[in-house]
Homo-oligomer: 155 residues x 2
């Protein structure tokens, strides 16, 4: 069975995110999948995604934490409702707050792995805790507080 | 007098950051300047820097908070030493932690303004507090804990 990334279940009207929207032709196309109770995102930065030479740009790492976090929040909310991501109504989350701790410089070159666990689901809010690894070494820790998109979003 | 952005004083070997390095041809070229005791960064996102349509991608907003924070930290450290940014030795900071609160969706289109104040300078650590405004409305708040690059960075 080939699993489909969480982000490919987003409604088309909400699939233009620069980080993870599959309809954004300039974007990063971040993708997330379940592996048991953890969700995983694998991403190889481009050579120009540099901080100081040899290491990955912190803003890109924050983007990975961010989009993997909102994707995991959506997937967890479906799970909590006991239904799959291809069922209606769609659930889509945005970031209320983002925290990133840069434990050590992240080497630029290898594929990175972001692993997330769901810390709390409360009403429309989901807290996601994340670790970013390079060659098995934890370089970054992050936390996303995600909230389900309100009907009046941006009005 | 035309002032030069903080980031243009970075040593060439440390000026390749995807967010703010003027030598990164693919990057955002984030620039920061003093305006009295506050530092200011102005940036107009590209049309494809979208979250959900009509609003700015949160990962880009985090990048603005990040690079404006480390730039402000460097500028503040020179000020604290009573010298200008064109004097030796150079001071360059990296992010130890980044926190971003998304208060409301940030409209995509207008120029954004990030305003920062220096909260604390202690040893090699500088804490920078930031507000991001769109048309004068505060959309994002952020805090960066920046540390001066250690001599053994990345070893």
């Amino acid at each position: 069975m080939t699993s489909k990334a969480f982000q490919h279940y987003y409604p088309e009207s909400l699939a233009h995110c620069y980080g993870c929207g599959h309809l954004n032709e300039h974007g990063h196309h971040i993708e997330s999948f379940w592996e048991g109770d953890e969700s995983v995102c694998r991403f190889t930065p481009k050579p120009y995604h540099t901080a100081v030479p040899g290491f990955v740009y912190g803003g890109l790492l924050a983007s990975l934490i961010d989009c993997h976090g909102t994707g995991t929040a959506a997937a967890a909310a479906y799970r909590a409702e006991g239904r799959t991501m291809d069922t209606e109504p769609p659930l889509r989350f945005v970031t209320a707050s983002l925290h990133v701790d840069y434990l050590k410089p992240t080497p630029l070159g290898p594929e990175l792995e972001v692993r997330a666990t769901v810390g709390e689901i409360k009403g429309r809010k989901v807290v996601v805790k994340e670790r970013l690894l390079c060659d098995g070494v934890e370089c970054v820790r992050g936390e996303v507080v995600a909230v389900q998109i309100p009907e009046d979003f941006g009005r």
